[in-house]
């Protein structure tokens, strides 16, 4: 058991957080969309757009903060197309979602080819914000409490959404838009408005997750770098239904799997890397088999709302 050293555990936990934050943001974003009845398959594309825009802005302005703003904006840009086509015009959410993901993959890969393929610029390491005295705890301290501020913000969002869903009028309206949009409409709240805002915010959250991968995780943008993270976010949201805390738990679990992949490789464990890399996805399927049955989704999920239609 020479594997379980403090250094290994720290690396594992820190890696789990690094890998888990994009999943958390993707899951929270998808959860918001799904709550209002929009099955947002496009988040993989929004995430990729966020990663590209985040990297581009951070690199051009040399500001991490502006990079994250740019990433959120990039995600929102793709989300705006989704809101327009699926919410306003009522087009099929699955078809548009897939189209947006494929479109974003192509567009960012092409932009990358023209801008960065010759030079491969990298961003510097991101400054951490240690939280004394928690940062001094062995293993947990460096992994959890000596991280860039965006990590704390992402974790804080879990509490914010839990509060919004349970305590505010907006939370009630979000749930009604997904479960019985006609009831919300006849109460004088615009279903299309609620859904549009939710989809745009989803884009911002997911874009932030993508930007995190490019700016904090990799320090570089490469094509297709989100690598299915958005899709895992969709699974997380489906399993967590309306509960943000469950998204956090799921993100931590999948983050740990992803991190274990790296940690085991670094530790030189003699398992083929292909098998190790399969781990997170095998975990997704395992969890789905065990809990997928219980995923009770909003009843109007995936259905466009048209006033007066029966």
């Amino acid at each position: 058991m020479t594997l379980l050293t403090a250094a290994f555990l720290t690396a594992l936990l820190a890696g789990a957080i690094t890998a888990g934050i994009p999943l958390l943001l993707a899951g929270l974003g998808e959860q918001l969309s799904e709550k209002t009845g929009v099955l947002n398959i496009g988040i993989e594309g929004m995430m990729l757009a966020g990663a590209y825009m985040g990297f581009l802005v951070a690199w051009k302005t040399d500001s991490v903060f502006l990079g994250f703003v740019g990433g959120a904006g990039g995600g929102m840009l793709v989300a705006a197309i989704m809101a327009l086509l699926c919410v306003r015009f009522g087009l099929n959410q699955i078809v548009i979602g897939i189209a947006l993901t494929l479109g974003a993959e192509g567009a960012t890969a092409m932009l990358h080819y023209f801008q960065f393929a010759q030079t491969y610029p990298r961003l510097g390491a991101i400054a951490s914000l240690p939280i004394p005295p928690l940062a001094n705890i062995p293993v947990l301290g460096p992994a959890l409490f000596n991280r860039p501020p965006i990590v704390y913000i992402a974790l804080l969002l879990v509490a914010v959404f839990a509060y919004v869903y349970r305590k505010t009028y907006w939370g009630i309206a979000l749930q009604a838009a997904g479960d019985k949009p006609a009831a919300l409409d006849s109460s004088g709240v615009s279903v299309l408005g609620i859904r549009s805002v939710a989809v745009l915010l989803t884009g911002a959250l997911v874009g932030l997750g993508g930007a995190f991968m490019a700016i904090v995780g990799a320090g570089i943008f490469v094509p297709f770098m989100t690598n299915g993270n958005g899709f895992i976010g969709i699974v997380l949201a489906m399993l967590a239904r309306g509960r943000p805390l469950w998204v956090l738990g799921g993100a931590a679990m999948f983050g740990a799997c992803l991190s274990l992949t790296t940690a085991l490789q670094v530790a030189g464990v003699d398992i083929p890397t292909d098998v190790i890399q399969m781990l997170p996805f095998a975990a997704v399927m395992g969890v789905l088999v065990m809990l997928g049955r219980k995923a009770n989704l909003p009843s109007a999920l995936g259905a466009a709302y048209v006033r007066g239609a029966r």
């Binding site: 505010t168 009028y169 907006w170 009630i172 309206a173 479960d179 009831a183 109460s187 709240v189």
Partner: protein, 527 residues
């Protein structure tokens, strides 16, 4: 709240429709309709399916806009551009299908529409909800999750919510259609209490007896036109009987009148084939039947139905009727007991084999399990024979045979469809029922089970359905009719069995005092 329950002659209408016309592609749903609605009155809008009642409601509640004409509120012209606007004007609507979010508590359903950045004070709202409910004499539990409540309770909650939102003009759209008879009566009394407080209530229904019982004023719609109205004075002077006759005349014109009345007369004069099943061997025999079910397990069912006999099964909805029918049809496993058709046990046979032996089931879930809405009428007519000759040969569809069959049945059963290729889902409820009847009654049917055969149909189609049931029995079939409408069973049946909590608690011959005996069985006196 100081208005008397009867408006004086100079009372001003709260809401007026002025020559409202609404066109949809291909049809005129409302044709130049003018109606005044007064405070302190239950105003009944009566009409058949498709008469334009729902369209009128959707314009009053802001869901749709009139093509022509105007709506006046408090004497000034006031377009109702959105549901929001309707609420602001004090127009509250309780739709036929619940407009509560099932996953939320009643309190949160009241909270729908609050300013999004605020947090609701749930306790205060719950208290206010209870108070409002008490003021109109009903009880609600504000913390209950909506989906755990009965339809009647949900409807009361919706009325309470409408009042909490300041409604003074309450529209109840087909409000009694989904309710048990008892809940429907409660709703009727509630309407009377609401108008006593000075509200205007619009009650949309196609049930004549409810219209006459609860209405102060009745407007009759037919094919999108207002064809007549009875004011409070006329209703009083006519009395319920004469008023009903007058309304039937307005609703159906001379033809429909005849159809409805003949149906009645037919029923009254139906020669009872008393003891038709006693001498000869019964066609359908059910022995000690037991059926598993989570909510209403069925047990101890014993019934013998002879050729040409109609056995009615009465009972309040949800007492095991559906489970029994499905077990007989083979859609639900039989736990114990036997079912004999023409002396042969069939309880272990699958659905298709039972159908081949001559057992037919006309479901009440016409759009769900009865038809495939997107399929054409012609295929729906053969839905239970797919793959069989002569309509399919070696797996290949025989278009000619299918079309011939469809044309014949459409004609024989008077199915009003633009074309045999029209998707079944586009037909009206009455015509979908005719399609089902055509499918189940043709061929070598021996025993037929009808589940709520006239549920949700208008008078003409009710008469047509009942005629088919009688014809089936007269043709020597054994017939079971499950219905929650006692009048229907008394009109049709030779014997009536009463079901309660999954058991048959009594069987009565349908003679003069059947109604009273059934009532006793239902309430448990004679059980």
């Amino acid at each position: 709240m100081t208005l008397s329950s009867q408006p004086a002659d100079d009372a001003k209408p709260l809401v007026s429709l002025k020559s409202i016309t609404k066109r949809f592609p291909g049809i005129v749903a409302n044709d130049s309709i003018s109606i005044d609605f007064f405070p302190g009155e239950v105003h009944v809008l009566l009409g058949e399916n498709g008469a334009g009642k729902s369209t009128l409601v959707s314009m009053l509640s802001g869901l749709q806009q009139p093509s022509e004409g105007s709506i006046m509120v408090d004497g000034t012209e006031m377009p109702i551009a959105s549901p929001q606007k309707a609420l602001a004007l004090g127009i509250g609507t309780v739709f036929q299908h619940s407009m509560l979010v099932p996953s939320l508590t009643l309190t949160d359903n009241v909270n729908l529409g609050g300013a999004w950045w605020k947090t609701p004070d749930r306790e205060a709202i719950a208290t206010r909800m209870e108070e409002t409910a008490r003021s109109i004499g009903v009880e609600v539990n504000p913390t209950a999750i909506t989906s755990s409540l009965s339809l009647g309770e949900q409807q009361q909650a919706e009325i309470v919510r409408a009042l909490m939102r300041g409604s003074r003009f309450l529209i109840l759209d087909e409000a009694t259609a989904m309710l048990t008879p008892k809940d429907a009566e409660k709703l009727g009394q509630l309407m009377r209490r609401l108008v006593a407080q000075g509200l205007a209530v619009i009650f949309i229904t196609h049930k004549l007896n409810e219209a006459v019982a609860y209405g102060d004023r009745i407007s009759v719609l037919r094919l999108g036109r207002k064809v007549g109205a009875l004011g409070p004075d006329e209703l009083k002077s006519l009395g319920p009987e004469a008023a009903t006759k007058e309304i039937i005349r307005l609703m159906f014109g001379s033809n429909g009148n005849q159809a409805a009345v003949t149906a009645k007369a037919d029923g009254a004069m139906r020669p009872r084939i008393n003891g038709a099943g006693t001498g000869a061997a019964p066609v359908l025999e059910i022995l000690a039947l037991e059926v598993d079910d989570d909510s209403v397990p069925v047990s101890g069912i014993e019934l013998k139905i002879g050729a040409g006999e109609i056995v009615g099964i009465a009972g309040i909805d949800g007492n095991g009727q559906k489970q029994l029918a499905e077990a007989l049809a083979g859609q639900r496993p039989v736990k114990n007991g036997r079912i004999y058709l023409d002396g042969q046990p069939i309880e272990d046979l699958p659905i298709g084999a039972r159908r081949h032996r001559g057992l037919r089931y006309v479901t009440d879930d016409r759009l769900g399990e009865g038809t495939v809405g997107a399929f054409p009428v012609s295929i729906n007519l053969l839905l239970k024979q797919i793959g069989e000759a002569p309509f399919w040969r070696s797996g290949i569809e025989q278009g000619g045979a299918i079309a011939d069959n469809a044309r014949k049945q459409v004609k024989d059963y008077d199915i009003r469809t633009p074309d045999i290729e029209t998707p079944a889902g586009k037909l009206s409820g009455g015509n979908i029922q005719k399609l089902l009847l055509a499918r189940e009654l043709t061929g070598s049917a021996r025993a037929v089970i009808f589940a709520k055969p006239t549920y949700g149909l208008d008078l003409n189609n009710i008469a047509a359905s009942r005629r088919r049931i009688r014809e089936a029995a007269d043709g020597g079939k054994a017939v079971i009719v499950l219905s929650t409408e006692l009048d229907e069973l008394i009109e049709l049946s030779d014997r009536i069995a009463v079901m309660s909590q999954g058991r048959i608690v009594g069987i009565v011959e349908n003679d003069g005092d059947a109604r009273q005996k059934i009532g006793e069985f239902m309430s448990g006196v004679a059980a």
